[in-house]
């Protein structure tokens, strides 16, 4: 049963496996439509959760927290760049929402 679902994913979706995880800082370039024109927009933020089909990014823009949900197979995503690997203990870091400034930083993971 799982094989069939995998087969359909590979055949009809792009099904790219990304190597980022919760706590990483990534930049996504995605297409947006403005009337007739299509242009690329980038969103840089921290991954606060990874689900089976979606993941959530959080960034602070002008003192206001902004969160966006993306899908792994979303056709509008053109490029994903991993800027920083984060050293975290939880897979869902919602505690970041309550923190500000220096405390909202995540330590970098060195190999």
């Amino acid at each position: 049963m799982q094989n069939i679902i995998e087969y359909v994913q590979n055949k009809f979706n792009k099904n790219i496996k990304y190597s980022f995880n919760t706590g990483d800082t990534i930049t996504i370039d995605y297409e947006i439509k403005e009337g007739e024109r299509i242009r690329l927009q980038s969103f840089k933020g921290i991954v606060i959760q990874c689900k089976t089909n979606t993941f959530t990014l959080r960034k602070i823009s002008g003192n206001i927290g902004v969160e966006r949900i993306f899908m792994y197979n979303q056709p509008s995503i053109k490029n994903i760049e991993i800027n920083k690997k984060g050293n975290i203990r939880k897979s869902k870091i919602f505690y970041l929402r309550k923190l500000k400034g220096k405390k909202a930083n995540i330590k970098e993971k060195y190999k």
């Binding site: 049963m1 069939i4 679902i5 359909v8 009809f12 979706n13 899908m71 979303q74």
Partner: protein, 213 residues
Amino acid sequence: MLGIIGKYIGMISLYDIHGISIPCSIIKAGPCTITQIKTIDKDSYCSIQLGFEHKNEKNTNKPLKGHFKKANTLPHKKLVEFTGYFPNLKLGDNIKVNIFHENELINITGFSKGKGFQGVVKRHGFSGVGESTHGQHNRLRAPGSIGAGSDPSRVFKGTLMAGRTGHERITIKNIKLIKIDIEKDLLIVKGSVPGYKNSYLIINKIINGSKSI
């Protein structure tokens, strides 16, 4: 109308040309074998019987073995009849997903998930009696009155009450067929289908010109 027997595999999201996600169900349908053809002369109505998924011969009883031997096929797990006259189909023919085409509307029949003994709010969509606050208690999901008092002196038949819910035969009409995979016998339809994973489904073509069957 001609159809096919299938099995529900699971759900997935695909994307259309505008990049909007469509929730889709995967159905493994066919290949089905014709195990019996009923005619007006013999049975006073026309239909074909299709068999789906092979079964161990050891687990088949003698009457069924004879039935499959007549059609010269292996024993099948699931048998379903489709009414209609199909002059170019013969006993033992295989029916595959290529009887359908993409963007077609189809009907899907199956058994819904069993939900056990449920109250009237879930079973019949009652809205309950009272509120949760303002001094009230245990009236939030209550059925209310079930009839008048001394005049009929009884409860009318068919009054909606709590009871076993689900596991009913359900047909969902006009489901859009999004993709067909002929290599692996898969149908991908928009939205959900009745029943559990691995439960049997009957997929019917809709008669030309009319939306409902």
